[in-house]
Amino acid sequence: MKNGDQTILEMRNVSVNFPVKGGLPFIKKGVIQAVSDVSLTIKRGETFGIVGESGCGKTTLANAMIGMVKPTSGEVYFNGENLYQLRRDAFKKIRRDMQMIFQDPFSSLNPRFNVYQIISEPMFIRGQDDEETMVQRVIELLELVGLSKDDLTRYPSDFSGGQRQRLGIARSIILNPDFLVCDEPVSALDVSVHAQILNLLTKIQKQMKLSYVFISHNLAVVKNVCDSMIVMYLGKVMESGNSETVFKNPLHPYTHALLEAVLDTSIKEDREQVILKGDIPSPINPPKGCRFWQRCPRAMEGCKTIPPENIEVESDHFVACHDVNGFPEGNFEEGYKKPLKSFDDDLSEHGKAHQ
């Protein structure tokens, strides 16, 4: 099944809940729904983008993909095998095929290890190779990521942020994985280094035929890197599909808002921005209906209570929004289609103070 299959990873109705333990007097006991009911498929060789603000569950989702967080419910299939039903040794073996690049290259490298120790550690743990092959392989990788073999004995503190991220990349690909999760790989780096790292990732993907999961809050990067994508908000998928289709025809109000918030370097006179008001609500006891209604400029009465379904609006483009899909059939309270006017006025007043 391993190589013939088109799908590398599939998630079915995955939810991840974190219990909030009591102890602090002001915090209610409850459950944080970090990820709730997410289904997705990632094809072999593609780059899959996960977009959303901090706290929307994108990192938890990625962790659930590679077996770092056990989902509360739902299944994860990697190369056709149910990750969370594997025996321990089989699970360890399969984990070699999935690796991760972390966001912060300053805290993800052990400061007391030198470059050789850092990069060879996964190989060392696997324990199948002798010292000489390991050194050879590390040098090979250093050259691939644009460093040299003179760096072998240096320590992370000798490197700049971009170079450290290169080390992190080298470490993640040493075992020839199939699947690489890049968790905000560039957001801790300088703008001029972004491009270098992104180009390097693309080069490696081509060379090693990897599948990427690319987590980012920068839509401009996602647009240029990803083949398909999901937009998340408070643990739910708002919009998903082929990234070209989504960017050409963004339908969900949250996707619109994210796109508006991307600052471009092109200077436009008096650009009209739809700026989202308010903050992300707490994921403890999230809103009952659509999770976005409190900040949504197009919210209606019904959005408060009726959760929207993820519906395919065109081929390979799914949206979960009542305003786009219409409300489902059913007996709802009167006036559920009424726009939240009072709420809207409140917002515009709030907005005026900004002008």
């Binding site: 491009a195 270098q196 992104l198 240029n224 370097t265 092109s266 903050d279």
Partner: protein, 329 residues
């Protein structure tokens, strides 16, 4: 336009065990009233040190600062004592820091921290100060300011905390606001909120703004004049529109090209090769020459001077690019 700040030949040096770090090497800066000036560059280029020197926040020792003039509202504050500076800080110049969590006092309510500004600089009573504070919080769009003022910083979200910092910075209606990466720690949607707020407050109250950032997209939205810094030196100065239309310095060109844009269609990103030189091992000649594809022997041996090309445009390069574009623009 009146000059709010005039900085001439600022040099900051940090001696260390391994050598001398020349963080800032002769920076000139002018800020007029109501103008917003951006200082752009990568980390380690000296932009934060420059902005903190204006407030005289760089501690000496370890740092050694030398400056010809720091003129603020016509007064030379170069030799002001620590006490005199305290009267200016917060009242006439105030600062917004990058990380709202670490720059607020965690054991004091947000309201009390803003109250302090009024009590210290306007000599009002505690009660009056709280009224002003609530007014200030309302101004920066904090909902329910009266109860928010009683919250501790950890009870607020990142965007709210940044608003509290803004309220504090705007409290005494200073002439100059220094914002050091004001939105880097925030989410994109919150970033848009805070930037809009900063811009509208600054325009409405005719304040001057010194914006320190590495994010060119923030610059294009907020600044009037841009100074690009590289390795401790100003490499280009231009009005924001001109800079984005026709960047002259190869570094600026590279920096602009490397920002990913929504309108891009290519799958690869243009990049500047190499990395920023280590502050203790700066190259000879032009500091940018090892990364510059136009570099010649002249660049390798001598540092180009900052030359004025036209009104308001200066560039530190022997072979400035896009000169024709400027003529048509």
């Amino acid at each position: 336009m009146d000059k709010v700040l005039k900085l001439r030949n600022l040099k900051v040096v940090f001696p260390s065990g391994h050598g001398i770090i020349r963080a800032v090497e002769g920076v000139d800066l002018d800020i007029h009233q109501g103008e917003s000036v951006a200082l752009v560059g990568e980390s380690g280029c000296g932009k934060s040190v420059t902005s903190q020197s204006v407030m005289k926040l760089i501690e000496s020792p370890p740092a050694m600062t030398r400056v010809d003039t720091i003129e603020f509202l016509g007064n030379d504050i170069k030799d002001y004592s620590a006490k005199q500076m305290q009267d200016i800080r917060g009242k006439d110049i105030s600062m917004i820091f990058q990380d709202a969590m670490t720059s607020l006092n965690p054991v004091m309510t947000c309201g009390k921290q803003i109250d302090e500004m009024y009590i210290r600089h306007q000599g009002v009573s505690k009660k009056e100060a709280r009224e002003y504070t609530i007014e200030a919080l309302k101004l920066v769009g904090v909902p329910e300011p009266r109860s928010r003022a009683k919250n501790f910083p950890h009870e607020l979200s990142g965007g709210m905390r940044q608003r509290v910092l803004l309220a504090m910075a705007f409290a005494c209606m200073p002439k100059l606001i220094i914002a050091d990466e004001p939105t880097t720690a925030l989410d994109v949607t919150i970033q848009a909120q805070v930037l809009n707020l900063l811009r509208s407050m600054q325009k409405r109250h005719e304040m001057s703004l010194l914006l320190v950032t590495h994010d060119l997209s923030v610059v294009s939205n907020l600044a009037d004049t841009v100074y690009v810094m590289y390795s401790g030196k100003i490499v280009e100065k231009a009005p924001v529109k001109a800079l984005f239309q026709a960047p002259h310095h190869p570094y600026t060109v590279g920096l602009l090209a490397s920002v990913p844009k929504l309108s891009d269609t290519e799958k690869t990103f243009s990049q500047i090769p190499g990395t920023v030189p280590h502050p203790m091992k700066k190259p000879s000649g032009c500091y940018f020459h090892p990364r510059c594809k136009f570099a010649t022997d002249k660049c390798k041996n001598t540092m180009p001077p900052l030359t004025t090309l036209s009104e308001n445009r200066e560039v530190r390069c022997y072979y400035p690019l896009n000169l024709k574009k400027e003529a048509t623009a």
